[in-house]
């Protein structure tokens, strides 16, 4: 048995640095790789692959409020001509809009081509009649914790909807059903789940996530002004 040490090379350092470099490369191009894999293999495999196109669920309260279809009510009040309360049947009887859009979380995950169906928020606002001094909307959730806000102008964007269908079926409890908000041109946290009430108010009241540091105007292009002229967003 040889007892003299052989020449040694710092292979370990190379393996270590190589792996960290691959990690950095993954950060740089991971989003593209994921899109490619999603396109190449469809959402079936994309849904299983790590980091793939799947929803991650956030709960503020630790449990999902269960609201039955029958008991669901959307209350609209505040600076309006006619405060109203809508049932799910009422909402479904209104003119609906359907579109597909990528659901994009501010933290970096996304789910492409999610199908949404619901009522444009502007339609509901027209029904109740917004008073001239109104500035913003304050949204409340059945979870009694989450809140959100939109300016009146933002609320009139065509792809800001009160959604009752998602992914081709009624919105599930996990996804915020039976009725949730969907603010297509902004990051996911603006799309409040389990929508229970809309109050028309005379100032922007930052919602739960905004109080925790997220921008009040979370446009998908990263800007945070109250209005956004980018035509690609809507």
């Amino acid at each position: 048995m040889s007892t003299l040490p052989e020449p040694k090379k710092p292979v370990g350092r190379r393996v270590f640095i190589g792996m960290v470099a691959v990690g950095a490369l993954g950060v740089a191009i991971g989003g593209e790789v994921q899109n490619f894999l999603g396109n190449a293999f469809g959402s079936g495999l994309g849904g299983i692959l790590p980091g793939g196109d799947r929803f991650r669920f956030y709960s503020i309260t630790g449990s999902n409020p269960k609201v039955s279809r029958r008991k669901y009510r959307l209350e609209v009040s505040g600076l309006v001509e006619r405060p109203m309360t809508f049932t799910l049947d009422d909402l479904e009887a209104m003119p609906s809009t359907t579109f597909k859009k990528t659901f994009q979380c501010v933290t970096g995950w996304k789910v492409p081509d999610v199908e949404w169906r619901g009522v444009q928020l502007s339609h509901i606002l027209n029904l109740v009649g917004v008073q001239p001094e109104a500035v913003a909307l304050s949204f409340e959730s059945y979870d009694k914790a989450d809140t959100e806000s939109l300016t009146i102008d933002q609320a009139h964007l065509p792809d800001v909807i009160v959604a009752y269908q998602m992914l081709g079926a009624p919105v599930t409890t996990e996804h915020g059903g039976p009725v949730r908000l969907y603010v297509a041109p902004m990051f996911g946290y603006k799309s409040l789940k389990w929508l229970s009430a809309i109050r028309v108010v005379n100032q922007v009241i930052p919602g739960y996530w905004e109080q925790n540091g997220y921008p009040t105007n979370g446009w998908l292009d990263g800007t945070t002004g109250p209005t956004n002229p980018n035509p690609n967003l809507t």
Binding site: P7, P10, P50, G51, S59, W109
Partner: protein
């Protein structure tokens, strides 16, 4: 020091110190943190997969703080006067002989006088070390996402999730090896292995200890204890 013996001249009942207390602490603290990270990652990753949504914020905080503490046990055991043996073993992970590289290339089929750690064990250690760095960096990007573009956040999510899966697989392999090599596993509790074990699994290391013992090195004479 009074129990120092020379391996070649004494019986096979001799024990050889494989991991000192500092190294055992580093290993188990690291293992505990990885366990907490994996357990908290499951509900974070799968969401309401189990039909229950846990107190997400709490789980998230536990995951975050365990993640941020991940490098501490290894760094603490590496620096300082108590880290001499740790530093020495980390040098072993770094420096490879040509035979060791060949052994990996042939997937363990070529002959090898194994060092204290065989090339597979070295790769495992390097993989975990690099994973700690990459997971810490990508995890930090996800926590402090404001400083990064959406595309970078997507990349960080992709790397964090993919590497997490790889880490779990490597740890499962590591556990499988540990439970099929009980003597090696036991040494992570007691610190020592039998000399017979070392002769079979780490002959080059044993030879090195003997050379150092014969040279009267005070460093590695203390490697031996009864």
């Amino acid at each position: 020091m009074s129990t120092v013996t020379n391996a070649m001249s004494t019986g096979s009942a001799n024990r050889v110190l494989r991991f000192d207390q500092v190294q055992r602490f580093a290993h188990w603290a690291n293992a505990a943190l990885f366990t907490v990270l994996i357990l908290t990652a499951i509900p974070l990753y799968f969401g309401s997969f189990f039909g229950i949504v846990l107190a997400r914020h709490t789980v998230e905080q536990v995951h975050l703080w365990s993640g941020l503490s991940l490098p501490i046990p290894l760094l603490v055991s590496y620096v300082g006067p108590w880290g001499r043996r740790m530093r020495r073993d980390i040098r072993r992970f770094n420096y490879w002989t040509r035979d060791e590289v060949r052994w990996i290339r042939t997937l363990g089929k070529s002959g090898l006088q194994a060092d204290k750690f065989n090339p597979g064990q070295k790769l495992n250690a390097l993989f975990i070390a690099a994973s700690i760095v990459v997971m810490l960096l990508t995890g930090s990007m996800l926590q402090w996402f404001r400083f990064f573009s959406v595309s970078q956040r997507e990349g960080a999510t992709f790397v964090h999730d993919s590497l997490a899966l790889a880490v779990v697989m490597v740890i499962v392999g590591h556990l499988a090896m540990a439970f099929t090599h009980v003597d090696a596993l036991r040494s992570m509790f007691t610190g020592t292995v039998g000399e017979r074990w070392a002769r079979i699994h780490a002959p080059a290391w044993l030879a090195e200890l003997d050379r150092e013992g014969a040279a009267g090195s005070d460093d590695d004479s203390s490697t031996r204890e009864r």
